[in-house]
């Protein structure tokens, strides 16, 4: 019977610990979500590049046509 009592208290304590651990994990999860700011910057870079490619394409095409010996 004593063993049973002790086991009961032990289970309750373990349950508390599990709750604490879950809370800590949840908090940890919240912090890790903050990270992805960088991909937005990369996307902006791609957009800028695409605009530049669009702007230069006509001139570059003429340059290639006029210098066929090196293309």
């Amino acid at each position: 019977m004593r063993y049973g009592m002790n086991e009961g208290w032990g289970a309750a304590r373990t349950g508390g610990l599990v709750l604490l651990a879950a809370g800590a994990l949840a908090l940890g999860g919240c912090i890790s979500v903050k990270a992805p700011d960088k991909p937005i910057v990369i996307e902006l870079n791609i957009n800028i590049k695409q605009e530049v490619v669009y702007r230069l394409a006509g001139d570059a095409s003429q340059t290639i046509d006029k210098n066929k010996d090196i293309f």
């Binding site: 791609i46 530049v52 490619v53 394409a57 570059a60 046509d65 006029k66 210098n67 090196i70 293309f71």
Partner: protein
């Protein structure tokens, strides 16, 4: 080819006009004649053969790359072409207020698009691909 037919057009509106008109017509036509002549400059035979054999290919960055280890003669020719390309890209980029890399990359997009079936080009993953009749694999930023 399309360029050659174009030079005939500007001369017609001046037909039967004064000497000044004809001189003006000549002044208009001359640069149009000179440009296609430069365009007919041939590729170096060593480069042309290597390109056809798939030993060199067009890279994404606008320069030529080696698909297989090059001979000393081929290496000399390709290095010379890449130096000339860089000088040209640099001049044109400055005129367009862009960076050399931007102008070269744009040219690379076009050069890969212009490869003919059997020729080599660099895919966005960096691998060498053989051009087929289908459109080449190009960077998403290419038009």
């Amino acid at each position: 080819m399309a360029r050659m037919t174009m030079k005939l057009r500007p001369s017609r509106p001046f037909a039967g006009r004064s000497l000044a008109g004809r001189l003006a017509a000549a002044a208009l036509v001359l640069p149009l004649v000179a440009a296609p002549l430069a365009a007919f400059a041939q590729r170096d035979p060593v480069y042309a053969a290597a390109r056809e054999a798939g030993q060199v290919g067009e890279k994404m960055d606008g320069y030529l790359g080696y698909v297989t280890p090059p001979s000393a003669a081929l290496k000399a020719v390709v290095e010379d072409i890449n130096l000339k390309r860089r000088a040209l890209y640099s001049d044109k980029a400055q005129a367009q207020k862009a960076t050399v890399e931007e102008y070269a990359f744009t040219s690379g997009c076009l050069l890969i698009a212009q490869t003919r079936p059997g020729e080599k080009y660099q895919a966005p993953d960096g691998s060498w691909q053989t051009r087929t009749a289908a459109a080449p694999q190009r960077d998403s930023r290419c038009l």
